[in-house]
Amino acid sequence: MTAASASPRVPTEAGKERSMSLQKQMIAGHYTALSHAPQEGRKVVYTFVPGNLTELVRSFNLLPMLPEINALQSGMRKLSGDYIAEAEKHGHSEDVCTYVKCDIGMLKKGNIGPTGEKLPPPDLLLLSYTGCFTFMKWFELLRQEYDCPVAMLHVPYQSEGCILPHHVDYIVQQLRTEVIPKLEQVSGLRYDEDRLREMLRLSAQAEDDLVWVLESAKHVPSPIDAYFGGVYYIGPMFTAFRGTAEGVAYYRTLHEEVEERLRSGLGPLTPEGSQEKERYRLVMEGPPNWTSFREFWKMFYDEGAVVVASSYTKVGGLYDGGFRHDPARPLETLAEYCMGCYTNLGLPTRVELLERYIREYRADGFMINSIKSCNSFSVGQLLMLRQLEQRTGVPGGFIESDLVDPRYFSAANIKNRIESYLQMLEQKRAGANP
């Protein structure tokens, strides 16, 4: 989601390009560091976006790499179809999560990353088992390919709608007895709590700015698109840049830019320039499709639909509920962060959150993009749809696609549904004030 190569081509409006080129540089730099890691003797940790322990990993001077991000990048660069086919050739079922297959296919085809450079093998697989069962199988599969240790971090699910103290203890214990020792072993460094605290402080700073940016969409009309645009905004935060000065700088810049857009009354930035009319304000649930990301986005902005809030931008941490990384309680705060990711929330909590978004962001409608790959997201979405309609009186739309499997993006079908849905909103509005 943070691809330099995938950033929208931006018309040169003042200020617009800064955060983007910043992001571009950061990502490119990170991938270069990754691909040079073996030569430069740096160690690499593979891990997942939800519940990622970037600060902890970085405090050991280790480089984090996120296979999910590689998979979505492959999707955007239209390579995922081949990769998935490759994995299926190796006996993976058609039915399972395509991120896994895309990643495994990429590996089987030489592990060339998004920037065209070969990616390093992991020195450690940090399995943060957060909000998704598939993660466990994914790294078990990778473990067969690479001869490296695995650190397993089991994050209990928030089934009761809150974080329980003994769950925090459980995670902290695992960090102490499983994760940290393995990080020490791989890096050859001792755990340095002061360093971790400093990084957590930087995280919190950037998090403030990110939340400000996402919440700017409460303004009518919104200066941002909190889904299609949002996936770019969360990039550095959810991936490798929490706890870094670069991350802080990026979010500062972004904040300023969005402030500027607000002041000058500009709409969200799309690949075709600033969106002018805001005809529909939508809340989105579910991840986007990556193989036809642009086409998908266009189906919205062409009709004047702006996404003002989305749950997907909360998969790598839910900050708008008030959570910030807290340097005072380093391991506890990490535990709470892991448990707070969107897909680790119980279904009732997810409904409450979306309900709040629909109200607070004054949405005309909400739409669910149900992803074939992802049971974690998708199971229960039809009930969520019903519940949200009942609770808010706002009509919901439902579309189906996949993350990175091009076979599951049926453009005509999806366009038909989106159009029908928006025409319905329009008709409703016309009916309400004839």
């Binding site: 039809l382 019903r386 919901g396 439902f398 159009e419 029908s420 008709q427």
Partner: protein
């Protein structure tokens, strides 16, 4: 007769294309239906022509109805006129089919036995012509609206009887037919309305009752007048599965959801829930008191259990679509069927038949399976409220209606279920209403 201003809605469905013509008052004065085909423009044109023919029939009826002297003969005359008109159309198409078939024998592949083939085809076609009279006799139950269906059924039966004549295989005959029927379907311009109608008029009068014959001069005058009446299309709106490919600008295209909602509302104003089962998709729609859609659900990308499925089954059994439902209704013990993959339909049927299951019972199971899928969509869209309207082609199938009625009763309790004989036109009606709206908004 003065100029008539009309509004046209066209619903380009995956299996059938429908048109509805409205007058300024919003009354339906013409309808047309045809098989959807590879060429959308042709489908559009054919269906529009047919709807205009019906419109002129309506005009005829109105004119006759307006003339007190003709009131008594109206019904007998008009139905006979229409039958004769259809009969002529059918014969016309058969002639074109004959031409296409004979031309196809010219293919090099058939050179070895061209003359046997020609003889076989001629005799099959003669048989078909004979049967035409039966199809259009006064008491006949119509098997299908479509030339393709009628012709296919007749041809296949006759061809099978021919199967064992020297070197001419059933397969070969089927192959020829498949190609020829397409040629027929893709030709437009069924002869002008006037010639056809005038052609139908005389035989109608000739075979009519004394009472009708006495009014012959007046009737001729009325028919003449409607033939010449000037009809102006104020606007057209397109909808349906293939709407993106209709040759209309974007403003003239509406989503089929909105059209079905509005159309159902127009037919039954108290409708709150609409179920539409078409050829490849099923839609469950909730509308408010003004016919405005409040929520909807469509089937996903698998076409299992839609109308097309019944089409394959009918094909497989060599039956007309009209016959499937009544047959299923005769079942005593329904078989439970889980898979409704459209492509497997025929195979499943064969397998079950070969296991000794009864045809009616299997059919009843199939109908139930289709409706079960629809029930899920209804539940997804928010359930079944009163009143409930069933639209789309499958609503013409009485066994499907029975299954739906029963399942709705079981799951939602008492609901008024609206079904119209014209339910297949609901989408087109909605489109025509949109056309009329925009004509009135920008006169």
């Amino acid at each position: 007769m003065s100029t008539l201003r009309v509004h046209v809605g066209i619903d380009l469905g995956s299996t059938t294309t429908k048109a509805v013509v409205l007058n300024d008052a919003g009354e339906v004065i013409g309808r047309g239906i045809t098989n959807s085909r590879s060429n959308y423009d042709v489908a559009c044109q054919v269906v529009r022509e047919e709807a205009m023919v019906r419109t002129r029939f309506t005009l005829t009826r109105q004119a006759i109805g307006g003339d007190p002297a003709l009131a008594q003969v109206e019904k007998a005359f008009l139905s006979s006129l229409q039958r004769n008109f259809r009969f002529r159309q059918h014969l016309d198409q058969l002639a074109r089919l004959r031409e296409a078939l004979l031309r196809a024998t010219g293919d090099a592949r058939h050179s070895a036995h061209r003359s046997e083939l020609t003889t076989a085809l001629e005799s099959i076609l003669d048989g078909m012509v004979e049967r035409t009279a039966v199809h259009f006799s006064e008491l006949a139950v119509r098997k299908s609206d479509f030339f393709r269906d009628l012709a296919t059924a007749d041809y296949m039966q006759l061809a099978e009887q021919h199967n064992d004549s020297r070197g001419i295989t059933f397969d070969m005959l089927c192959g020829l037919f498949d190609a020829a029927i397409l040629v027929v379907e893709n030709s437009t311009g069924q002869g002008s309305f006037e010639t056809q109608l005038r052609g139908a008029l005389e035989p109608t009068l000739a075979s009519a009752t004394r009472a009708v014959q006495e009014q012959a001069p007046r009737l001729r005058a009325v028919v003449e007048a409607t033939c010449r009446a000037e009809i102006v299309e104020a606007g057209t709106v397109g909808t349906g599965y293939g709407r993106q490919r209709l040759p209309f600008p974007k403003e003239q295209i509406r989503s089929e959801i909105l059209c079905h909602g509005l159309g159902a509302h127009a037919m039954f104003p108290s409708t709150r829930t609409v179920l539409d089962i078409g050829g490849q998709d099923t839609k469950a729609i909730q509308v408010d008191a003004d016919g405005i859609v409040v929520s909807f659900q469509m089937n996903d990308r698998c076409a299992a259990g839609c109308g097309r499925y019944l089409g394959y089954i009918a094909d497989e059994m060599n039956l007309g679509l009209h016959e499937l439902g009544p047959l299923a209704q005769q079942s005593q013990r329904r078989v439970k069927i889980n898979s409704t993959c459209t492509v497997f339909a025929g195979a499943e049927l064969r397998e079950r038949l070969s296991l000794g299951q009864n045809r009616e019972d299997i059919l009843a199971g199939l109908h139930r399976a289709i409706i079960l899928r629809a029930m899920s969509l209804l539940a997804r869209s928010g359930g079944v409220s009163d009143e409930f309207t069933f639209t789309g082609g499958v609503a013409r199938n009485p066994a499907a209606v029975d299954a739906l009625r029963q399942l709705v009763q079981e799951n939602y309790g008492e609901r008024t279920l609206n079904i119209s004989a014209d339910s297949i036109y609901t989408g087109a009606l909605g489109a025509a209403l949109f056309a009329r709206r925009s004509a009135q908004a920008n006169p």
